[in-house]
C-alpha cells in the first residue's frame, strides 16, 4: 500500500485537465442552473401529486430540498462547535 510520491508542482507542469479549467466550470454552472430551472418549470406541464397538500405546490420539492439541506448543514455546524475534537482525542 505504498502511495505514489506527492509532488505539489505536478498539477502545474502537466496541462490542466479540461474538467478543472475555469471556462469548463463556468459552463457546468450554467448548465446546472439551466437544469435546475427546467426541473421547476417542468411542473407547469407535469402534475406533481401532493399527498399532504403542501408537497403538491409549485416548486415545493426544490424549496424543501434546498432549505432542509441548509438546515442540516447549519445544524451540523452548530453541533460541530460542541462536539468536534482533534483527531488524536482518544489516543493515549
Amino acid at each position: 500500500m505504498t502511495g505514489p510520491e506527492r509532488d505539489p508542482d505536478d498539477g502545474r507542469r502537466e496541462t490542466e485537465h479540461w474538467l478543472v479549467r475555469p471556462s469548463t466550470i463556468r459552463m457546468l454552472w450554467i448548465a446546472f442552473i439551466a437544469v435546475l430551472g427546467l426541473t421547476v418549470l417542468a411542473q407547469l406541464v407535469i402534475d406533481v401529486k401532493g399527498y399532504f397538500g403542501a408537497d403538491g405546490w409549485f416548486g415545493f420539492g426544490a424549496v424543501f430540498g434546498f432549505l432542509s439541506c441548509v438546515a442540516m448543514v447549519l445544524a451540523a455546524k452548530a453541533l460541530g462547535v460542541l462536539l468536534k475534537r482533534p483527531e488524536d482525542h482518544y489516543d493515549d
Binding site: F64, G65, Y90
Partner: protein
Amino acid sequence: MTEVVVPPALILLAGAVLVGLTRGAARSAVVLLAPLATLWAVWQVPDGVAVTASFLGYEIEPVEGGALRRLFATIFAIMAFAGGLFAFRQAKWYELAAAHAYAAGAVGVAFAGDLITLFLYWELMAIFSTVVVWCGGTPAARAAGIRYAIMHLLGGVILKVGIEGVVVHTGSVQIEPMLAGNFDTWMILIGILINTAAPPVSAWLADAYPASSPTGSVFLSAFTTKSAVLALILLFPGEPVLIWVGLYMVFYGIVYALLENDARRILAYSVVNQVGFMVCAVGIGTQLALNGAAAHAFAHIIYKALLFMSAGVVLYRTGITRCSDLGGLFRTMPLTTLCGIIGALAISSFPLTSGFTTKTLISVAAEEQGLALVYFLLAAASAGVFLHAGIKFPWFVFFQKDSGLRPQDAPWNMAAAMLLFAAACLLLGIFPEPFWALLPYPVDYDAYAPGKVLFYLQLLLFSGLAFFLLLPLMRRTLTITLDTDWLWRVLLRRMSERMLELVQSTGTRLLEALTRFGEQQAPRLRRPFGSSGVLGRTWQIGPTALWIVILLSAYLLLYYL
C-alpha cells in the same frame, strides 16, 4: 419423498475452512465458488420449514424458507461473491476466511426458523466480523475491534436474555411477529437494535468499520446491520417505536457524516442513515413498508459495498482516507471515480438507480398511512443523503482540489467487482419489475410516475445546489466528532481510574492509621512486655524452676480433687 436440503450457511462455513486449508489458485477458486454454491443452495430451499433438529431438548428449525428469507440470503451470497472478487488478490487469507464465516452467519440468520438458531448464527457473525475488523492490522484496528466485540457480545447477551424469557414464558422458540410489550420482548428488540447501530450505541459502526482493511470494510458494510433489519421484519413488524428510532438514525447519520473528514467514516455514518430508513419502514409495518425495507436492504447492500469498494481502492492505492488529503483523483482513476459516482447516485435514490426504485416504496408507505410528519422528514432526509453521501463523498475524494496524487486505477479484480455492482445499481433502477417479483408481498407501484420523478429531481438537484453554495461552511477540518461512545471510552475509564485511585489511597490511609495507632500504643505495651517489664525481662533459672514446680503441683492437686 423428502428432498435433502443443504443448509446454505454450511456451504459458506465449509468455504471458510477450505480457504484456510488451500493455497494459491485453489484458494482463489474456493473464495469465488463457495458463495456461488451457496447462492445455488439458497434457491433450493423450499418455502416453509425445510430442516428440523433437536437441540438441548428443543425442536429447532435451522432452515426455514420463504420469499423474504430467500431475498436476504440471496443478496448475502451475492455480496460474499462480489466481496471475494474484490478482495481475493489483495486481502490476507484469514480475512477472506473470516469474511466467509461472517457471511455464513448472515445467511444462517436469514433462514433461521427459530430463536435458538437465530442466536447461534448471530454470535457467529459477531465473532468473525470482529476478526475482519482486526484484519485491519493496525493498533487502532485492534483497539476498535475490541470495542466492537464488547458491544456485540453485550448485544448478544441482551438478545439471549430476551430469548430465554420468551422461551420460558411462552414455551415457544418460534420466530413470529411480536410487539415490544414486556421485558422479554424489549430485550430481544434491544439486542437486535444494537446490531442495526440504533441509538444510543450508533457509534460502534463508525468506530469499527473504518478501522478495517481496504477490503474488510466492504464485507463489514453488508451483513450485520442488514441481517438485523431482517430480524426486525420477522419479529417486530409494525412496532411503532421503530419509526422514531429509524428517523433518529437517518438524521444522526447525515449530521455526523457532514462533520466527518475520513472518507470511509463518511460512508460508515451513511450506513446508519440508510439502515434508519429501513428501521423506520419496519415501524410503519404495512406490506408496502416491509417490501420497502426488504427491497431497500437489498439495494443498499449493493450500492454501499460499491461505495466502500471505491473508497477501498483509493485507500489501497494511496494509503489515504482523509478527505483533506485527497482530491483530484478522477484524473488517474476514472473507473473508480465512475463507480463511486454510480454508488453515490444510487444511495441518493436518484432516478434510474436502485435507490430510487426501493426507497420511494418506504415514502409511499408513509404517505398511504397518512404519516405526514414521517413523510416530510423522510423527504428531507433524502435530500440530506444526496448532500452527505451523494455529492460529498465523490466530490471530496475524486474532485475538489488537486491533491497532486496520481495513483493507478483499480487492479482488475477490484475493477470487476465494482463494475458488477455498478451494473446492478443501474439494472435495479431501470428494470425494477423482475426484482419486485422477489419481494415478500405483491407490488402494485409505478416508480416512474412523471410527477414523482420530477419531485425527486427537484429535491435532489436543489440539495446539490445547496451543497455547492454552502461549500465554504463544509471545509474539511482535521477533527473527529464526539459521540455517545465518549461515555464509555473516556468517562467510564476516567471513573474507573478515579475509583482505583480511591481504593489505593484508602488502603494507604488505612495502613498509615494502623501504624500510627501502633506507635501510640507502643509505650503502654513496653511496660509489661519491654526488656525490663515483668513479662519481658529474663529470669534466672532458679526462680523459674521453682515456679514450674509450684504450677505442676497445683495442677496435680487440682486433678485429684
